[in-house]
Amino acid sequence: MPINVTLDVMLARRKMKSKELAERIGITEQNLSLLKSGKVKGVRFETLAAICRALDCQPGDLLEYLPEDDA
C-alpha cells in the first residue's frame, strides 16, 4: 500500500501517548495501534478529524503517499 501512516511521528512531536489519544478520540487502543502500523483498509473522516483536533495538525501530517517503488 503506497499510503504510509505517520501518526507515530505526530504523536512523538506532540509528546502524547497512544493510550491518551485513543481515549481522546474515542477508539480502542487496539484500533489505534492497527492504524499506526498501517494495517487497516481505511480511516473514516470522522476519525481523521478527531485525530487532527487532538494533535492540532492537518491530515497531510498524518498520511503520506509513497510511490510503489519506494513503498
Binding site: 492497527l34 492504524l35 487497516v40 483498509k41 481505511g42 480511516v43 473514516r44 476519525t47
Partner: protein, 180 residues
Amino acid sequence: MIESQPLARVQRLSRILSRLALVFMALILLLDLLLWIDRPALERSAAMLLPAGTPHDLTTTALIGGFVVAHMVMGLLLYALWQAHRLFAAFAGGAILVPETGRRLFRIGLAFALVLPAQLAASGATSLLLTWRNPAGSRALTLSADPVHAMLAVAGLLILTVGWVMAEAARIAEDNAQIV
C-alpha cells in the same frame, strides 16, 4: 464474540441441529444399507422404475451400475447434510456472519439443486441397465423424478442465492471492520 441471550439461544439450537444433521446422515446410510441387502426390496424398486410389465433383469452389472448411480443422488444429500452439520457447528461456536457461512449455504443449495438432474440421470441409467439384456426394441429409457425433487431444486436455488449474498455481506462486513 457477542454475549447476549438471543445469541446464546441460537448457539444452543445450533448445537442440537448440528447433531441432528449427523443423525439424519446415519439414518440415510442405515436405510440405504437395509435396501441394498434386501434383494426383494431391490426387485420392487427396480420394477417401480420401469413402465408396468416391462421385462427386466437384475444382473450383477445392473446391480453395480444401479448402486453407483443411486449413490450419486444420496451422495448429494449426504454432502448437504454434512455442510449443514458444519454450518450449525460454526453457529454454535459463535461464528455467524462470516464468509464461511455463506459458502456453506451455497454448497447446501448447490447440492439440493443438483438432486433433480442427478435423479433424472440415475433413473435413466438404471432403466437402461435393467433392460439391457432385453431384445432390441424392448429396452427402456425412463426418466423419473417426483415433485419433491423439483421442489428441492427450487429450494436449493433459493438457498444457493441466499448463501451467495451472505458470503458477499460477510465479506463487506469484514472489510468495514478494517476501517477505523
